[in-house]
């Protein structure tokens, strides 16, 4: 299995990553070699083995009630935001 530079560009777009055009062939080559490593799995007879859902047998993700557990931390959290105004996160204009 190998990926073409064109495929890499389209996957990078899905992942919202701008790739330098000059780097694309290198990614195509190295990711293709990862997929060749991974292709070892194709030949494994997994029969009716269920895909593993949790590393600990019988464990499932715990759920909690959908309620507020901490107070209003907006100011603290927005301290790390690149750009805010009036308590809102600023991004380039989305709607013309």
């Amino acid at each position: 299995m190998s990926l073409t530079p064109k495929q890499i560009e389209s996957i990078a777009h899905l992942a919202r990553l701008e790739l330098d055009v000059a780097d694309v062939p290198r990614y195509a080559e190295s990711i293709s070699s990862i997929l060749r490593l991974v292709s070892e799995l194709e030949g494994v007879n997994t029969g009716d083995v269920a895909p593993m859902a949790h590393p600990l047998e019988g464990q499932v993700q715990r759920l909690r009630a959908d309620v507020v557990t901490s107070g209003n931390l907006r100011e603290t959290l927005q301290g790390n935001a690149p750009q805010t105004e009036a308590g809102l996160y600023l991004v380039p204009k989305v709607i013309e």
Partner: protein, 494 residues
């Protein structure tokens, strides 16, 4: 043995007033200042805060309210969030991120009275086996500064090897505690999946990630794990299983312990210089009363291939949160929202992280999910079943931690596959969520060799006991690189 070579002895020294926490902290900060330009073990040093917490620890010691960890200096891997302190995860993306909260284990060790000296360097987002993917530059191995310390917890392992602190926290997704511990000649434990809360530990691959610790000795690891382990409702994978008294479990007799030698770990690719010391370690355990038999886990060699589907898939999902909007790096003058996302992420992430995001996005994309991700999770079930069968016959599985000793900086950066194969022996335990340790067992041409122990779920006490018994018979864990004093309480000695 040097008087103050371990956390346990420092803990005693503090109680006996042989030195104060402030004195220990000053000595540690001086060692950091001296070694940092060459080793680059830390991303952030929190000297003033360290001295303040040391002073507070001294008051507790004087008042008689101190616990076993009170006043002992330590270092956190920069994957753990620390309130008011830069938390970068080794990435440009978070190079300006000051955490608004503490990770669970940061809180626990703070409450135990430990003194944080700073934040350890690491591979970017814990993706790497050499610490060369860090945005903040590579860490150098204290045993030979032309070589890598391993990764991703390379800063943590190198810091303990250089005796900057008796312990550093770490995380392990495919070997990131054990592999650098082996390459730096220190003790590392990856607990059972869910044993230690990951709240505030920046996520890489959520079905594999586990927080743990790197120390000088198994006894020190037991002391630290006691404070770190336990149920935390804030991590939905944290398990509500009582934490045993690890110090008591250390004393378990070794006689009758059934050790399984992992046949698959002694094949092609294992350097004789590693195999020799590992075989000698097995002989030591046998002398101490353990039985040793060979065990085969036929699906185990599929671990690396399985990992490079599961880990990138989960990473691509976890790293989707870095969007340049709420925190982290943002590009200059974005043309529109899409440009903001794409350029912020392109500039914020390094090449290895991008490679894994693209790989993960591909294996999860429409039409490929069944062939890659579901198939990998089926193979993972086979690997886990192999371990389960083995643990019906033996108590502990033993093998090398790595196929080779520390390699040179730049040796493996051009081909990701050769880098990935460093974790060939460590990934299996992550696949099945098992606890595993690496302890020093010898030297290969002057470079440390690690032996790995893997146990069933929640068998940390047994692993620690087997490691402790070995460390009472040998002194490999007390060896230090040339010029590094094994005595933490010593001042400048180089």
């Amino acid at each position: 043995m040097t008087a103050d070579a371990t956390l346990a002895s420092l803990s005693a020294g503090l109680r006996e007033r042989r030195y104060s926490s402030v004195e220990l902290t000053q000595a540690a900060l001086a060692r950091i200042a001296r070694t940092q330009p060459e080793l680059n073990t830390l991303i952030t040093v929190t000297g003033e805060a360290a001295l303040a917490s040391a002073a507070a620890a001294d008051q507790q010691l004087a008042a008689g309210t101190a616990g076993p960890l009170t006043g002992v200096p330590m270092i956190h891997k920069d994957i753990f969030c620390t309130t008011g302190v830069l938390t970068t995860c080794g990435s440009r993306m978070l190079s300006n991120f000051v955490s608004p909260y503490d990770a669970h284990i940061v809180t626990r060790l703070k409450e135990a009275g430990m003194v944080m000296l700073g934040k350890a360097n690491m591979d970017e987002f814990a993706m790497g086996s050499s610490n060369e993917t860090s945005y903040f530059g590579p860490v150098r191995n204290p045993w030979d500064t032309t070589r890598v310390p391993g990764g991703s917890s390379g800063g943590s392992a190198a810091a303990v090897a250089a005796r900057l602190a008796p312990l550093a926290t770490a995380s392990d997704t495919g070997g990131s505690i054990r592999q650098p511990a082996a390459l730096c000649g220190v003790t590392g434990i990856k607990p059972t999946y869910g044993r230690v809360s990951r709240y505030g530990m920046i996520a890489f691959a959520s079905s594999l990630d586990q927080a743990g610790v790197i120390t000088v000795s198994a006894e020190d690891a037991a002391l630290t794990l006691q404070a770190m382990a336990g149920f935390d409702p804030r991590d939905s994978t944290s398990v509500d299983v009582p934490v045993p008294d690890y110090a008591a479990e250390l004393q378990q007799p070794l006689a009758g312990l059934r050790i399984g030698v992992l046949r698959e770990f002694f094949g092609e690719g294992l350097q004789p210089a590693i195999e020799g010391p590992v075989r000698e370690a097995l002989a030591t355990w046998q002398r101490l009363g353990a039985t040793v038999t060979e065990v085969s886990l036929p699906s185990l060699p599929l671990s690396v291939a399985t990992y490079y589907v599961v880990a990138p898939a989960e990473a691509s999902s976890n790293l989707a949160r870095f969007d340049g909007v709420r925190f982290g790096h943002r590009c200059d003058k974005p043309r529109d929202l899409l440009d903001l996302y794409k350029r912020s992420r392109a500039e914020g992430f390094g090449a290895e992280v991008k490679r894994r995001i693209i790989t993960g996005t591909y294996v999860l994309s429409a039409g490929y999910f069944d062939a890659y991700y579901l198939k990998a999770q089926r193979v993972r079930a086979l690997i886990t079943a192999d371990f389960k069968r083995a643990f019906a016959e033996v108590d502990v599985l033993v093998g090398p931690t790595t196929p080779t000793p520390a390699f040179g900086l730049g040796d493996k950066t051009s081909d990701p596959i050769t880098m990935y194969l460093n974790d060939i022996y460590t990934i299996g335990a992550n696949m099945a969520g098992l606890p595993a340790m690496s302890i020093p067992c010898g030297l290969a041409d002057g470079l440390p060799v690690g032996v790995q122990l893997i146990g069933p779920h929640f068998s940390e006490g047994r692993l620690l006991a087997a490691a402790h018994a070995f460390q009472r018979e040998t002194d490999w864990h007390l060896r230090t690189p040339a010029g590094v004093s094994a005595d933490f309480a010593a001042g400048e000695t180089r």
